[in-house]
């Protein structure tokens, strides 16, 4: 079991070369080999979701993946959300404003879950958001303020997109950012 393998990982846009045993989980590699301790480990069997990261833009449990499995994927962790100066993203600000965290242990997992989900479903309504939030466990908040935070962020993103489109030159309707498909506008105007 002490065999090591050379692995190349792309995390938050940065390439890393690692010599690790094949059984080493992605969560452990992120936390202990790369020092990205924002990704937390709560259960190591894929239920609690505290270790959720994005693998090729989709939320995934870092405790259920071996690092060797995701060599060719783009991995994003909570450390990628804020600016290099520590400035918070809109999603992070929403979590703070809605008191969507208390002890903060589950928070990175919820942030990455919501980040991946909102990119894919920007027009999500509250019930859909609640269903997705149910993927992860929180023991402090009772979930309500987490749902509030994600819903608020979705609404703000739609409003921002709508106002960007409203002020954009009419001749360039194709310039809407890729992450905000047409369905987002439907949601915003509903």
């Amino acid at each position: 079991m002490t065999d090591v393998q050379l692995v190349e990982l792309t995390v938050n846009g940065e390439r890393h070369e690692l010599a690790i045993p094949p059984r080493r989980t992605l969560a452990d590699v992120l936390r202990h080999d790369l020092g990205l301790t924002g990704t937390h480990v709560g259960c190591e069997h894929g239920i609690c979701g505290a270790c959720t990261v994005l693998v090729d833009d989709a939320p995934a449990r870092a405790c259920l993946l071996f690092a060797v499995q995701v060599e060719n994927a783009a991995i994003r962790t909570v450390e990628s959300l804020s600016g290099p100066d520590g400035g918070l993203s809109d999603l992070q600000r929403c979590f703070g404003e809605h008191h969507g965290l208390q002890c903060g242990f589950c928070t990175p997992g919820f942030l990455m879950l919501a980040e991946g989900y909102l990119a894919e479903s920007p027009d999500a309504d509250r019930e859909e958001i609640r269903e997705v939030v149910a993927s992860n466990l929180c023991r402090c908040t009772g979930y309500q303020t987490i749902v509030d935070a994600v819903e608020d962020c979705a609404g703000r993103r739609r409003a921002a997109l709508q106002s960007a489109l409203d002020s954009a030159p009419r001749s360039a309707p194709q310039s809407a950012p890729q992450s905000a498909p047409q369905s987002a506008l439907d949601g915003a105007s509903a």
Partner: protein
């Protein structure tokens, strides 16, 4: 909701300001115990018992030591640590002292009990090492249930307690109570059981220990609610001076009581520093679910006498608490039965009361306090008695409650507790009003499901002072807290507190409290917690004591520092002290001059020759606070609407309303967060969570696949209404707010379910509510 920033009257207290904890937690820059890595660090894993009850024949670690990566492995005899012993000052008829070895050497008493510690260069290798251990156990008949414990048919869990009873107290027995029962119009009874639960902080327990040769000190970073108590136990077990242990608490991912006792694993891991290498142990979820501290398994037999118009005349309760294999430090196995006996009957005027409380020991993982401790259970029993009486007497259940609620304060209860003022009646009225205004009573569902509405009324003693704990006769009496405040050269302050945040936002709320006293912005106040070297002494955080006791100590220290600043300013201005005033903007007015704090600090530190002779240099003040009398009492009414599905026996909570009164809320949003989180844990206990064992004492819920923790799909949005009955003797009038949600929810949910079952004739009194029983009750009429 108040906007960030201080309130119109200029106070920080009462404003939901941005949390100072948030930026680091939101960016992944928090520092939890497993985030700490030290050079040459070893990782610990434990060899654990596979039997519930057995004599230890042999623990052979020779093959463990041959596993690649394993550096060392120690069994009980190798580490030779003193046992952990928690004591009550009670006669032997009431309390049988037992002790918990750090590692089991002679006997194991539950599945998961640690027998040996394996240290390796990485955690994977440590677990490989555990696999290689050869343990010889000679099984004994396990004592798995409370009934089996009381029957005492087989070998006892502890030889010192042949009847398996560790605590047996009869605390109150009103004279003539038998006659009251005999003469009463109606006597109703309830037999209730509550399932064993896991407090389940999302961050499991963990420790990183290192020996510092320069300070000759064992530096222990651990996620505990009680750092000074860990220091004491570690020093005693390992034969070190108190000074030789420094306990540091990093960010904590919840505790809920499970981390307010001293864990044997953290002692073993710290002691393993004998290799002169740092040691880390992080509990995995399987260990957390099977071998950590559990709670809540209680069995009540209670009856109450009523008049024809629903007035309660007498109450009798017998409670047996299944404490598992060991007494926890410092609370002992008495924590649950003593709480259950002394706090009942809660918010109701009961003239006659008799109670017996017992703690039995079984071959299951030991228990610790869990958010609410015994209050969720006794409140559930009281609320069931109220409902049952109403049903038997043909009265409205809320009317019966109103007839019995305490309405005049201070009220001296039959349990010898004096309740400080609360809004028991008002919270019930408002809760009912909210649900009525939302149109719930009388509504029906078109999908065939059955609606039910349930309530629970309770008060919660918070901020137990030394007197309240002393009355429990603990040999280690928590209560007071100490706070020290120091002003630096730039006029900003640092405050120590002996309490400890594990999610409750102390860095924000304590700063608000101090900011008001000194007229400083709250972000100019730094809070230091969780460091036994920087904090003289502290009791940590449990029993909703942080703001009431710790916050009051911090406020008192700030007032003292303010007095120093006023005296200094008066001296410099040549006026008398009484005329000097803090100006609320970081300065002191004395005579016709105003000194900024930085100017005064400049004198205190850099130009001490200007100080009056009797005043030393520096700006530091220390204060302590203890709650006199019986503590503070928060209260609330919870209202819950459920829909029962006859097709599945499933329960959906459609609406949840909480009217709470914790006095003055320092940070209303934090208070609401505590309530919501608490309610979620209470609902979990009512409907989902239970630690189940088989007849051999094997835990049947070792993962989240079996132990059902509710998600956002099961926990409803909660509407919270605040009432405010300020406490007369704490800083700012605050009462504790940590546990109420958990206390009120099980009763409200259970009553709602019973309301939905009212046409079936079935009444359920135990939690978690079994879905099969619901299904049967809902379908008996059809069949």
């Amino acid at each position: 909701m108040a906007e960030p920033g201080f309130r119109r009257d200029g106070s920080w207290v009462g404003a939901s300001v941005p949390r100072r904890e948030d930026p680091r937690l939101l960016t992944g820059r928090g520092r939890f115990v497993d985030d700490i890595t030290l050079p040459r660090m070893l990782h610990a894993a434990f060899v654990r018992s596979t039997e519930a009850h057995a004599r230890v024949v042999d623990v052979d670690l020779s093959e463990v030591r041959a596993v690649p990566g394993v550096v060392a492995a120690f069994a009980a005899a190798d580490l030779a640590l003193r046992d952990i012993t928690a004591l009550l000052d009670r006669p032997i008829e009431e309390f049988v002292p037992t002790s918990m070895p750090v590692l089991a050497g002679e006997k194991v008493r539950y599945v998961g009990e640690p027998l040996a510690i394996v240290l390796a260069t990485d955690p994977y290798a440590a677990e490989d090492g555990v696999e290689a251990a050869l343990v010889g156990l000679d099984p004994l008949d396990p004592v798995v249930t409370e009934a089996a414990a009381l029957a005492a048919a087989g070998p006892p869990v502890h030889d010192e307690a042949p009847g398996n009873v560790l605590v047996d107290v009869s605390l109150f027995a009103t004279e003539g109570i038998d006659d009251v029962f005999a003469d009463a119009h109606t006597v109703v009874s309830v037999e209730a059981r509550t399932g064993r639960q896991n407090a389940l902080p999302l961050e499991t327990r963990g420790v990183v220990a290192d020996w510092d040769d320069r300070d000759e000190q064992l530096v222990v970073r651990t996620c505990t609610q009680v750092p000074h108590q860990v220091r004491t136990v570690l020093a005693r077990c390992a034969g070190l001076d108190e000074r030789q242990v420094r306990v540091l608490v990093p960010d904590m991912g919840g505790g809920f009581g499970q981390k307010c006792v001293v864990g044997r694993e953290e002692i073993a891991a710290a002691a393993a520093k004998r290799l002169r290498r740092p040691v880390k142990w992080i509990e995995d979820r399987r260990e957390a679910l099977t071998a950590s501290f559990l709670a809540r398994e209680q069995h009540y037999t209670a009856r109450a006498a009523f008049t024809a118009d629903g007035e309660i005349l007498a109450l009798e309760s017998d409670v047996v608490c299944d404490m598992g294999a060991y007494s926890c430090y410092p609370f002992t196995a008495g924590i649950e039965p003593l709480m259950a006996s002394a706090e009942m009957p809660g918010v109701y005027r009961v003239p006659a009361y008799r109670v017996r409380g017992r703690a039995v020991t079984t071959n299951k993982a030991p228990t610790a306090p869990y958010r609410g401790v015994s209050r969720p259970q006794y409140v559930m029993v009281m609320e069931r008695l109220m409902e049952r009486a109403a049903r038997e007497l043909g009265l409205d259940a809320l009317e019966v409650r109103r007839r019995n609620l305490i309405t005049e304060f201070p009220y001296r209860g039959v349990n010898a507790i004096t309740y400080d003022p609360g809004s028991y009646r008002e919270s019930l009225d408002l809760c009912e009003q909210v649900l009525r205004d939302e149109g719930w009573p009388g509504r029906s569902l078109s999908d065939g499901r059955v609606l039910g509405i349930g309530y629970s009324c309770f008060s919660e003693r918070t901020g137990y002072g030394s007197g309240a704990f002393a009355a429990r006769k603990m040999q280690v009496v928590p209560g007071f807290d100490l706070s020290q405040i120091t002003m630096d050269l730039d006029g900003t302050v640092t405050v120590t507190t002996g309490t400890l945040s594990h999610g409750q936002s102390h860095e924000t709320t304590f700063a608000q409290i101090v900011a008001d006293r000194l007229g400083l912005p709250y972000d100019k106040v730094t809070i230091v917690q969780g460091d036994t070297d920087r904090i003289t002494y502290g009791w940590g955080s449990f029993a909703s004591r942080s703001v009431t006791i710790g916050g009051s100590a911090a406020a008192a220290a700030a007032v003292k520092l303010g007095d120093q600043l006023r005296a200094l300013a008066a001296h410099l201005a040549g006026t008398d002290v009484d005329s000097a005033r803090l100006d609320g903007r970081g300065g002191v007015r004395a005579g016709d001059r105003t000194f900024s704090y930085a100017e005064l600090a400049d004198v205190a530190y850099l130009r001490a020759h200007l100080l009056p002779k009797e005043v030393g240099p520096g700006l530091t003040a220390t204060a302590s606070f203890d709650v006199g009398g019986d503590g503070t009492f928060s209260n609330a009414t919870h209202g819950c609407v459920v829909a029962l599905d006859p097709g599945t026996g499933g329960v959906e909570i459609l609406r949840y309303v909480c009217v709470e009164d914790c006095g003055v809320a320092i940070h209303p949003r934090v208070v609401e967060g505590q309530a919501r989180g608490g309610i979620a844990q209470g609902i979990a206990g009512a409907l989902f969570e239970q630690v189940v064992y088989d007849e051999l004492g094997q835990p049947l819920a070792p993962s989240f696949m079996e132990y059902k923790v509710p998600t956002a799909a099961e926990i409803p949005d909660v509407r919270i209404e605040h009432l405010e009955t300020p406490c007369a003797f704490t800083a700012d009038g605050a009462k504790g707010a940590g546990e109420g949600g958990t206390i009120g929810a099980p009763a409200a949910v259970l009553n709602a379910v019973n309301d939905a079952l009212r046409t079936t004739g079935v009444e359920l009194d135990s939690t978690p509510i079994p879905r099969a029983a619901l299904f049967a009750a809902l379908n008996q009429e059809a069949s």
